[in-house]
């Protein structure tokens, strides 16, 4: 598999992705992607893929998906001009407000889309994993909306640092299962959800929360999240009078980033920058900068960039933000990095915390800790590239981060 990398034709791959031809029939974005799953799940994945391929383009399904996005999720989400940040940064800053989507992050786009699909596929119940809890809350809400019971797996450490979201899931009628194995964060939660699925592949729909995992998830999630970039592109034309020079999004698994970037891939003039969690430093285990510092491998069903040691053991990660604290990344991002269309940079814990405070103080938007990484990188870029038009994917709101933030009191800016 490693051998595929050097041989690939970068331009052709990018062109194919823009043309909507990726992933290919085997679920690959160039060398990345695929479907590395236990045999027990093969029939379930076949059903899922066939169902997704059938229903996603189906006008009736699309109509109900679009209706839920509009009427229940509250789309289109706003595009905000940020006058005070613009002034401070010497740039023209625009913010795509996924924090205003129902339940407070972009995660709901995917959750309601897959929940509708679960109904179509005749599922009796839904399981989901969650890191920051946003996907868990979104899944709980979406399942209530479509009338399916929902069980969410969440790492014990994440349950602690994102406690408000745990309460919200329970209120929304979901069952939350603490995962105490492995690293007790998102990765362990995915493993555990997979195990649960293996034990009942027939009646269960696994509602995966990011553009990661085995095919067809990376594709399915991208298709459901692409509405972010579609709206943003159209809103930039209308509100800003033109496309941005650069777009930033934070990258955990990569769903909000691919949602924002995918519809902009074809606009060659737009620089696209994904921002990973730089944590406390460059060492293995100190960050979650998969694309920036990782190597290719197979994690949780997918060939992609991962953080691993020489033996292929996946490493624990660190980030102040639970939603970025993941050792893998969506395979399409791995490809977009390999072909050079998107660059991936990092922002440290401290930079993200400082950016969060700045966005609060200047624009009155309490952004998510995940999202704050995108602001931190955008600010750095703006200083080096004065006078540009910048689009930032504001993937979610920071209410959920209060328990973590209480450990980092505002420094005071004035």
């Amino acid at each position: 598999m490693k051998s595929v990398l050097p041989a690939m034709d970068k331009e052709a791959l990018l062109a194919a992705d823009i043309a909507g031809e990726l992933p290919d029939a085997r679920g690959r974005f160039g060398p990345f992607g695929g479907r590395y799953i236990p045999e027990t799940l093969v029939p379930a994945f076949d059903r899922l893929e066939q169902g997704a391929r059938k229903f996603l383009p189906d006008p009736e399904f699309q109509a109900s998906f679009q209706r839920e996005l509009r009427e229940w999720v509250g789309r289109p989400t706003a595009l905000s001009f940020a006058p005070r940040l613009s002034k401070k940064w010497g740039a023209e800053v625009w913010i795509k407000r996924e924090d205003l989507a129902h339940t407070g992050a972009h995660k709901i786009n995917n959750a309601i889309g897959q929940a509708l699909l679960a109904v179509k596929l005749g599922a009796r119940r839904v399981i989901a994993e969650t890191g920051a809890g946003q996907h868990g809350v979104a899944s709980a809400a979406a399942c209530a909306r479509v009338g399916l019971p929902c069980r969410v797996y969440m790492g014990a450490i994440d349950m602690e640092r994102q406690a408000p979201n745990v309460d919200r899931m329970l209120r929304l009628g979901a069952e939350v299962i603490p995962v105490k194995t492995g690293d007790q964060t998102l990765r362990a939660a995915i493993d555990e959800a997979m195990r649960e699925w293996v034990s009942d592949p027939e009646g269960t729909y696994y509602l995966l929360g990011s553009a990661v995992g085995p095919h067809p998830y990376p594709w399915l999630v991208r298709e459901l999240q692409a509405v972010i970039g579609q709206e943003a592109r159209e809103q930039m034309m209308r509100q800003a009078g033109g496309l941005p020079d650069v777009a930033f999004a934070c990258v955990g698994g990569g769903s909000n980033a691919i949602g924002l970037f995918y519809p902009l891939l074809g606009d060659a003039g737009i620089e696209l920058i994904g921002v990973e969690a730089g944590g406390t430093g460059d060492g293995l285990g100190q960050n979650a900068a998969t694309l920036a510092t990782g190597t290719p491998g197979v994690l949780q069903g997918c060939y992609t960039m991962i953080l691993q040691d020489d033996d292929g053991q996946v490493q624990e990660t660190h980030s102040v933000s639970a939603g970025l604290d993941y050792s893998g990344v969506g395979p399409e991002h791995a490809m977009l990095q390999a072909v050079g269309r998107v660059s991936y940079v990092t922002a440290t814990d401290d930079e993200a915390l400082d950016a969060l405070e700045e966005v609060c103080a200047e624009e009155g938007i309490l952004t998510a800790l995940e999202t704050a990484h995108a602001y931190a990188a955008a600010r750095r870029w703006a200083k080096a590239n004065p006078g540009k038009r910048i689009l930032i994917g504001n993937s979610g709101r920071g209410d959920k981060d209060m328990p973590t933030l209480s450990k980092f009191p505002p420094k005071g800016r004035k």
Partner: protein, 255 residues
């Protein structure tokens, strides 16, 4: 005899002497690295084939016992390379054919070419890769086959008929029939007989059943419809409890 033939042969030999083939599984270097070889030797003396688990950080198809053993083995410093080195150094006298059970990523990280050569040298006759479905396996299979090593396919009760044919004929050494649609560590389902008969009927290779086999009755039940019984979590638990693996394994197949 090619390595993969040694597997088939060992199982057939057990069968022809009226016994269900016994395929014990241990996680390499668990509970302790120091006892790996001695335990392996003791187990190999009873088992017809021995499955050695290569620990992995994300054992997504495994239950609590094997997860625990896997994480602990990594913490003990066990790696694929360490296991191969151990076998090179101390395992030359083990005549029971060995199978590696490993998730894909450690194999990828090692590199397929070198892996196949080192495995062959270490007496490894086959690989079981629980997160490598048939569709993704070509490259690894070809590389292993060049050394005569089997890539053992898994089938499950939910595998549809055509796929069953495909997987059983693509397998090497034997066919691994997962008894339950679940993870390792559970019990045996009630409709086991039918299912194993179905697999055995289409498989050109002997069929070994695994997942949920813990007691002599389980082995004898499985043995009526399959060539062999794979014993994993139960054996790991015996080792954890400080029990004697050989005694336990012999108890599973009383004379």
């Amino acid at each position: 005899m090619q390595p993969h033939e040694r597997l088939t042969d060992a199982i057939r030999q057990a069968n022809s002497s009226g016994k269900t083939a016994l395929v014990p599984f241990i996680t390499a270097g668990y509970p302790k690295t120091e006892t790996f070889i001695s335990q392996l030797r003791a187990i190999a003396a009873v088992g017809d084939v021995v499955e050695i688990g290569v620990p992995f950080s994300d054992p997504m198809a495994d239950g609590m016992t094997i997860q625990r053993s896997s994480h602990m083995a990594i913490a003990n410093g066990v790696s694929l390379r360490w296991i191969l080195n151990q076998l090179d150094q101390h395992g030359a006298d083990i005549s029971t054919p060995l199978v590696f059970m490993s998730y894909l990523n450690p194999l990828l990280a090692f590199g397929y070419e070198e892996l196949a050569k080192r495995a062959s040298k270490a007496g490894v006759c086959g690989f079981i890769v629980p997160d490598l479905p048939y569709e993704e396996c070509a490259e690894l299979r070809v590389t292993l086959e060049a050394q005569g090593i089997a890539l053992i396919q898994l089938v499950t009760p939910a595998t549809p008929p055509e796929r069953l044919k495909l997987l059983t004929s693509a397998s090497g050494g034997f066919v691994y029939a997962v008894t339950i649609t679940g993870i390792t560590g559970g019990g045996l389902p009630s409709d086991l007989a039918d299912y194993l008969d179905r697999v055995s009927a289409v498989s050109p290779l002997p069929v070994c059943a695994g997942f949920g086999i813990r007691r002599a009755e389980d082995v004898s039940k499985v043995g009526q419809h399959a060539a062999g019984a794979i014993v994993g979590s139960a054996l790991v638990e015996v080792l954890e409890a400080g029990g004697d693996p050989a005694t336990y394994l012999r108890s599973l197949r009383p004379e």
